[in-house]
């Protein structure tokens, strides 16, 4: 996935807004995730305190990240597992490949993992002649469609059931071509059947990790389907790939954060399966993997520590921010052009691939503040997007016209008397352009707005005029 189309965000977004199929899919976000989240939170009176607790746990962990990572490492090793520290995507890919080669593996099963998307693992392994199968239903669907995920917990949210049926008919050979695949149930049953064959033939199973627990050397996955469990249990080798900031101190700390994770994500009280995996199978165990590896990926995260972006490392990838974002809701995930969409992606992506590449993303915000309001980890996403905008401005990455506009505004704004007169005049002119409908359909230099929708015309006095009148009235 490494290659991004983030620099083309504007074109991507324009295209997305005119994609009727995508717009229909995005319409399901409200009932799918938002309403369920509200209901789950209503049932948990301590939710706000749980958010504070979750934030404090992660802050404490990040402030002691080296200690908790080394404790985690020691406990993985003590339980017979292996830890691989990987500075960047290439090192992580090579490490996974080496593990596969050492086991003479031919097939690799994947549980859902955003880190594997971040490092472009599937394409890389396929080039090495390994057969890679995504086992999560949503990931499997987009793998068949040769697309990246458009949402971090619902990767195929942009796909309709008819499109899934088409992909299945093309891929699953040897079945009756006229079999019914009209309903989600038909599609799921077929996927379940096909996947069973893969599960029993796998050499290496790769999962992500929602948490790494320092106290016990455990990796945790939070899932609903059970595919991750089968992936890591039926394969000879289990590889968990995770970024550094997934570590938490203890089982209790993981449990506290779990109380806000599913509620914020899918609106469930708890996901169907929360799986704590520690080391390879034990003496006497009748099933389970022979080897257990953890890939610890940095890929730019250690350099977020000590900066204004450190708090982003609290993110637990619940997707509440994108589920509630008006921009994500309008354009979907692919428009963002890299692995992580929505508000969390707008902050994280410039940190990982550079603001020169991803500078559009922190601008793709209405600053409504909803993302911060719903973030279970209380990450100040809008503030961080503003930091990126400042960096972008300092590096002269924005368009020249914007710099000119800001300079012009600054010139007026630093001359209050003139500013008052000019804005008063502008308000009157805009009102007259607006006419009886009080709307402006076309305005020079503002086509970016007026091409898509009307601009409401100002209806009277400026803020400064109203303020002055109010103050005068108070004195009187």
């Amino acid at each position: 996935m490494e290659q991004s189309t983030s620099p083309k965000f504007k074109q991507n977004a324009h295209h997305a807004l005119h994609d009727a199929s995508l717009q229909r899919a995005l319409g399901r976000l409200k009932t799918g995730f938002k309403d369920k989240r509200l209901a789950a939170i209503a049932d948990m009176p301590e939710f706000e305190q749980l958010r504070d607790t979750a934030r404090d746990i992660k802050n404490h962990t990040l402030a002691n990240l080296d200690h908790y990572l080394t404790a985690f490492e020691a406990n993985v090793i003590a339980n017979g597992g292996h830890v691989h520290w990987c500075a960047d995507a290439e090192e992580a890919r090579q490490t996974v490949l080496k593990i596969c080669q050492d086991k003479k593996a031919k097939s690799v099963l994947k549980g859902k993992s955003m880190i594997s998307e971040e490092i472009g693992l599937n394409a890389f392994l396929e080039k090495q002649d390994l057969k890679v199968v995504e086992t999560d239903l949503g990931e499997y669907i987009i793998q068949l469609r040769n697309e990246p995920p458009s949402h971090i917990i619902a990767p195929a949210i942009h796909v309709h059931k008819e499109q899934v049926a088409d992909s299945f008919r093309q891929t699953h050979k040897g079945r009756d071509i006229n079999r019914p695949l009209d309903e989600p149930r038909d599609l799921l049953d077929e996927a379940r059947e096909v996947m069973r064959e893969h599960f029993f033939a796998a050499d290496v199973g790769i999962t992500g990790a929602n948490f790494l627990i320092a106290e016990t050397g455990t990796s945790v996955i939070v899932t609903n389907e059970g595919n991750g469990d089968l992936t890591q249990t039926l394969s000879k080798v289990h590889i968990a790939i995770a970024s550094l900031e997934k570590v938490v101190p203890t089982l209790e700390d993981a449990s506290s954060i779990l109380r806000v994770l599913a509620r914020s994500a899918t609106g469930q009280e708890m996901s169907s399966y929360t799986t704590f995996s520690t080391g390879p199978k034990r003496d006497g165990d009748l099933d389970g993997p022979e080897d257990y590896h953890v890939i610890l990926l940095d890929n730019g995260r250690s350099n977020m520590l000590g900066t204004e972006f450190q708090e982003m490392l609290r993110c637990i990838r619940c997707a509440a921010c994108m589920n509630h974002c008006p921009v994500y809701g309008a354009v979907g995930g692919h428009a963002y052009g890299w692995v992580y969409p929505g508000p969390m992606g707008s902050v994280l992506t410039p940190s990982l691939i550079g603001v020169d590449e991803a500078g559009h993303l922190p601008n793709a915000s209405t600053f409504c503040g909803k993302c911060e309001e719903v973030c279970p980890m209380r990450i100040p996403l809008p503030k961080m997007m503003r930091h990126w905008r400042e960096r972008e401005f300092e590096k002269h990455l924005g368009p020249q016209s914007m710099r000119f506009g800001i300079r012009l505004w600054a010139w007026f704004a630093s001359r209050p008397a003139l500013y008052g007169k000019a804005t008063g005049l502008a308000a009157r002119i805009l009102k007259s352009i607006g006419g009886r409908k009080q709307k402006i359909g076309k305005l020079p230099l503002a086509s970016g707005w007026t091409d898509i929708r009307d601009l409401p015309a100002p209806q009277g006095k400026t803020f400064k005029q109203l303020w002055a009148e109010q103050q005068a009235a108070k004195k009187a």
């Binding site: 899919a25 301590e46 002691n64 691989h84 619902a154 379940r192 089968l230 506290s256 940095d298």
Partner: protein, 230 residues
């Protein structure tokens, strides 16, 4: 650890220490880190689960039903085979059952039923499994299942129908209480290969956000809650 991983390890830890503003060399963990790992403190726990034991049992049952599990309460273990036979007939499931190789399960009087039983790991053709639980958590109606020689993990995931026997004395209020029991049972810092929380049967919403039960794991989860308290 190979050479490259070792040099990346030092580089990553060095960057973390430098960016946290405390020099690049290793340093002993501060007392609060050592203490947190040695004696994990409990954080805030929901009031809804901090109730008397009978109320916890009721909450456990209602929460489990709320996530599409079914629950039958029995007065003693002797009734378990008949209950499983009844459940399978009611749901039109095969009377062929794979048991966890756990004496508490295999030692029951299965001959009283017409069920065909065997025990061990689950394979591709096993449609029904019966396992025991380490604990039940009232807070969310979750089952706590540990892998081990007597509890093969595949039994939890491969069969269409997963039946779990849990005793009333094993039901606690919160996850924190489970971790205390785990430390008492296997020692501090020790975990089985897999410690699984199961909250309802397998499900997915990946096609048009329509929730479907039975994605890749069990389609049905049946809990037999057996009274072992007076």
């Amino acid at each position: 650890m190979n050479q490259s991983s070792s040099s990346s390890r030092n580089a990553i830890l060095g960057r973390i220490r430098k960016n946290l503003g405390r020099g690049s060399g290793p340093r002993d963990a501060p007392a609060e880190v050592v203490a947190r790992l040695a004696n994990p403190p409990r954080n805030i726990m929901p009031a809804r689960a901090q109730i008397d034991h009978d109320a916890q049992l009721d909450l456990f049952v209602s929460m489990a039903k709320g996530v599409a599990a079914s629950v039958t309460r029995l007065e003693n273990m002797d009734g378990v085979p008949a209950e499983i036979s009844r459940y399978l007939a009611e749901h039109n499931q095969p009377a062929v059952v794979r048991l966890a190789p756990d004496a508490a399960i295999t030692g029951l009087d299965w001959a009283k039923t017409t069920l065909e039983i065997s025990s061990g790991v689950a394979g591709p053709h096993d449609m029904v499994s019966v396992t025991s639980a380490f604990a039940g958590v009232a807070e969310t109606g979750s089952l706590m299942l540990r892998s081990g020689p007597d509890q093969p993990y595949t039994l939890n995931m491969l069969p269409d129908t997963h039946i779990v026997v849990v005793k009333t004395s094993q039901v606690v209020g919160t996850y924190e209480e489970v971790w205390s029991l785990q430390r008492q049972d296997q020692g501090r810092g020790t975990m089985p290969r897999t410690f699984l929380w199961v909250t309802g049967p397998s499900r997915t919403g990946d096609i048009e956000q329509t929730i479907q039960l039975g994605a890749h794991g069990p389609r049905r989860l049946h809990i037999v809650l057996v009274n072992d308290e007076t």
